[in-house]
């Protein structure tokens, strides 16, 4: 078990955060710390806009960072489960990024 950091970009919608937190509880994963901010500078996320053919607007998306204690194999499962949540746009750990079903081999968030 290693402490790992996850980063999520998600829609800033009512109930979105509780879906993420609830998923950790539901699947038996542990949250060590959690931090959430609205995103006001979209510059680092232009690649998401391009990939999803969208334009982010003010107050539309949030950035969530979660520290969790997990094994490597569970890490992949957590990423995939998070990626499946409808309000989650992208999720990454240190090595990979899931962008709505597209797996990218680096942490882009």
């Amino acid at each position: 078990m290693i402490k790992r950091k996850l980063t999520l970009i998600m829609e800033n919608k009512p109930g979105a955060l509780v879906r993420v937190v609830g998923l950790f509880h539901q699947r038996g994963y542990n949250i060590e710390s959690l931090h959430v901010d609205p995103v006001d500078d979209f510059t680092p996320y232009r690649f998401i806009e391009e990939q999803l053919e969208t334009k982010f607007k003010e107050n539309e998306i949030s950035r969530l960072t979660i520290q969790t204690l997990v094994s490597d194999s569970l890490m992949r499962q957590i990423l995939r489960q998070l990626n499946k949540l409808i309000d989650v746009i992208a999720v990454s750990n240190e090595e990979t990024t899931y962008l709505k079903g597209v797996l990218l081999d680096e942490n882009l968030l």
């Binding site: 109930g15 609830g22 539901q26 499946k84 079903g101």
Partner: protein, 581 residues
């Protein structure tokens, strides 16, 4: 186009459902849903079916969805209406069934005040829905309905909840109505077409396997992939097994069909899976009822896993090749590539494998002619009941079931040649599912034979729906396999708890099901002797326009076999009460 229609939130909801193609809603009215119910009264395009309990509404919508492939729609009120629907929503969620559940909610200004019949439906349903919406702006109702149906039916299907506070449907607030042509959810795009590279890798493995097994589940049915699966195996000629959820996706009477696998799977199916060198998993997710102990699962097999859901792959059993996409599309791509290489593939290399399977089948396969030796000295065998039903209905009926021994007997002894005809609560194992699910199927297919194989335990969990069946004249046939006990619980107690039948029998408190059926206006028939069984069933099925409740008293000592031995491999099975592999 002229001026846009101006409608209330409730009327917009009905228009949106109609524009979405909805024909039937299963529901139950109550305070927070009354504006919507009034809108239902004032239209004639969508039929509303009044159930007797909200759980019945969800299971009926579920049965409708499983049999048609179209999403089931449910309408309930807030508070107890919403919470009563949860079991049925969870049932649909666990089996990936498309469903849209609309729940009334207390008015916006009352939310959070512990108002009458207030409950946090979004919160309570969250772990058992694919997604959920709460309407905060009535203007958004058409868009939310469009999105909800899109989410429920695409990718890996599942239930979606729309929670609507009462003020959002108020009759005096009018809005311009327009139904969106397309749902556009930027953060949701389930895979459809597979990756070509993975298809090439998969084809190489398929062509080189010596002991392949096709293992197909509910995902193949959800993707309507029966033709593709059939064509694929015309080429491969591999043995095929189906999960409990997958029965019917490959014809059960085909000579390459092994039967169901897993906990109560056939001997040959479990042996083939254990000894395979290649497992071709198609819309199946290596559930714990399939794998037994994952660390002992099929030690020599490579795994190709076709699935639409990333999180289902390599969750329990590591896949060597993962093909993401709609299973139908992925299989089409496989077939297309295989067809260019037919000269390099020789079916005959599988002959030793087929011979081995034939041996397994002949040594410990199920006896499909149990019904032939019946005498009144012996109690009725539950398996023989299913065999009679299968023969009388010529294998063509829609069969729903409840949960327990009767469910396994039905899965083992009714042979489904087509998908969407076997309707059961696989993953959730919800007792009470069978009767309301059969109603949903009968509404979808009024001219087809629809029967519910149930037990005296399960049927009592939604027995009130017999009243719904009378109101809407649903001539379902209910086959109650009555062993006067919670059979599967009792079986486990026999096998693992020294025969201590803790709370699994009713101490002579069962109702007279014949009178019960009659009091609901239906026909009841009681069967206690082998000599009466066939004629009673024939009589029941001859009454085309009546619901008939056939209460069959069976051997209470009978167990379901084969049965996997817990924490072992798929090779380790109980074959009878005193024989294991």
């Amino acid at each position: 186009m002229g001026t846009k229609l101006k409608l209330s939130g409730a009327d917009m909801l009905m228009h949106a459902l109609h524009d979405e193609g909805v024909e039937l809603i299963f529901g139950y009215p109550g305070g927070a849903a009354l504006h919507i119910y009034d809108a239902i009264f004032r239209q004639d395009k969508i039929e509303h079916i009044l159930v007797r309990h909200e759980q019945g509404a969800t299971h009926a919508a579920d049965g409708y969805a499983r049999s048609t492939g179209k999403p089931g729609v449910v309408l309930v009120t807030s508070g107890p209406g919403a919470t009563n629907a949860i079991t049925g929503i969870a049932t649909a969620f666990m089996d990936s069934i498309p469903m849209v559940v609309i729940s009334g909610q207390v008015a916006s200004h009352l939310i959070g005040t512990d108002a009458f019949q207030e409950t946090d439906m979004i919160g309570i349903s969250r772990p058992v829905v694919k997604h959920s919406y709460c309407v905060f702006d009535a203007n958004e109702i058409p868009k939310i309905v469009k999105e909800a149906f899109h989410v429920a039916t695409s990718g890996r299907p599942g239930p979606v909840v729309i929670d609507i506070p009462k003020d959002m449907t108020a009759p005096d607030n009018l809005f311009e109505y327009e139904y969106p042509k397309k749902a556009n959810i930027r953060s949701y795009n389930p895979p459809i077409e597979p990756d070509e590279n993975q298809i090439e890798r998969a084809v190489t493995e398929l062509m080189n396997a010596k002991r392949p097994v096709i293992y197909a589940g509910g995902g193949a049915i959800a993707s309507n992939a029966e033709e593709e699966l059939f064509r694929l195996n015309e080429i491969l000629d591999a043995p095929v097994t189906n999960t409990l959820m997958g029965l019917g996706i490959y014809p059960a009477t085909h000579h390459r069909f092994l039967g169901m696998l897993g906990m109560h799977g056939t001997y040959q199916a479990n042996m083939a899976m254990h000894n395979a060198d290649l497992i071709i998993a198609i819309g199946a997710r290596f559930d714990d009822r399939i794998t037994n102990n994952p660390s002992k699962f099929s030690p020599g097999a490579k795994v190709i896993h076709f699935d639409v859901d990333h999180s289902s792959v390599s969750k329990i059993i590591e896949a060597n090749i993962a093909v993401f996409g709609q299973v139908k599309n992925s299989l089409s791509a496989i077939i297309k590539l295989l067809e260019t290489k037919l000269d390099q593939y020789n079916k005959d290399t599988l002959q030793p494998w087929h011979d081995q399977i034939k041996n397994w089948k002949s040594s410990h396969g199920l006896n499909y002619e149990l019904y032939k030796d019946e005498s009144d000295e012996n109690p009725i065998l539950p398996q023989a009941v299913v065999q009679h039903v299968y023969n009388i209905t010529e294998g063509k009926a829609y069969v729903t079931s409840d949960v327990g021994q009767h469910q396994m007997f039905a899965a083992q002894y009714y042979h489904f040649d087509e998908p969407r005809k076997w309707i059961n609560s696989g993953s959730m194992g919800t007792m009470g599912f069978g009767l309301p699910a059969a109603m949903g199927v009968k509404f979808a297919f009024p001219n087809e034979e629809v029967l519910c194989i149930t037990g005296e335990g399960s049927i009592q969990m939604c027995i009130q729906e017999l009243s719904t069946c009378l109101q809407y004249n649903l001539p379902i046939k209910i086959i109650n396999i009555n062993n006067e006990a919670l059979g599967m619980v009792k079986q486990w107690q026999d096998m693992n708890y020294g025969g201590r039948h803790s709370q699994s029998t009713y101490q002579n408190s069962l109702p007279d099901f014949v009178k019960l059926a009659e009091s609901y206006g239906h026909v009841g028939i009681k069967v206690e002797k082998n000599s009466e069984l066939k004629s009673a069933l024939e009589k029941a099925f001859s009454m085309k326009d009546r619901l008939v409740f056939v209460d069959v008293y069976v051997d209470p000592e009978e167990h379901v076999y084969p049965m996997l031995i817990a924490n072992h491999s798929l090779e380790d099975m109980w074959l009878s009460k005193d024989k294991k592999t």
